[in-house]
């Protein structure tokens, strides 16, 4: 017996009442899985490079493997952080206006810092 109150079409789409389905949840998990090896690598690197001088840190960032891993860590890490902060804001900020403003601000800041850091990595790697 079918006890589901949704229409067959709604069930097939699986988008739920908010019309976006499990996209946010899934993106959070996908970025989390990707970050497991990246964060282990980054934490070790951070320990090793935390006292590095200008030349040493640039030589490190500029090597091809590090460039790729660092850009991945920056992009996926900030995306994951932004998704998590959005949930925190949605849980604790109840005014519609301030909630929206905070979520937008978090997204803008994440994109701004992420892009600036990626451009910095590319500049060091390609030497300009």
């Amino acid at each position: 017996m079918n006890s589901d109150l949704r229409t067959p079409l709604a069930r097939a789409r699986g988008l739920g009442s908010a019309r976006e389905g499990v996209h946010h949840w899934w993106a959070q998990r996908l970025t989390a899985i990707a970050l497991i090896p990246l964060v282990v690598w980054f934490a070790i690197s951070l320990v090793m490079m935390s006292g590095a001088d200008y030349g040493a840190v640039r030589a490190w960032i500029g090597s091809p493997v590090v460039m790729v891993l660092l850009i991945l860590t920056i992009a996926i890490g900030l995306h994951h952080g932004q998704l998590g902060l959005q949930v925190v804001i949605e849980d604790y900020v109840h005014g519609d206006g301030s909630k929206l403003a905070l979520i937008v601000a978090v997204r803008f800041i994440a994109v701004l810092f992420g892009l600036a850091a990626i451009v910095a990595v590319l500049r060091i790697g390609f030497g300009s």
């Binding site: 998990r29 934490a43 951070l46 320990v47 935390s50 006292g51 001088d53 952080g81 902060l85 850091a117």
Partner: protein, 132 residues
Amino acid sequence: MSVANRPVHRPLSPHLQVYKPQLTSVLSILHRATGIALSVGALYLATWVIYAASNPNAYALFQSFNTSILGRIVLGGWLFCAFYHLCNGIRHLFWDAGYGFELKDAYRSGWIVVAVALIATVVSWIVGLRLV
């Protein structure tokens, strides 16, 4: 005041302050707290990379803070948050997959998370401080 506008005083579920802290709840709160700290710290680390792409003097200034006591506390604290959030995040992924919901398992995985995060943090601090 119409019926529709009258404030409705529905019973509220008991919130955090009425519960005795337990390992499971403390670790859950810590997951959020470290997540927020990691996000803020990520902006600081991004700034580090941005300074590395600028001139040597600006980078040296930034690095002099990193190697100061306060800078060590910031970086060491970020590392603890990273190790904790990483370990507890893996715990969450197992829950998402449907494993480890028994109370005994939740406590055991919780203590494993605490132990691994603390060991990784202490090792990273010792190695990091020797390298400065």
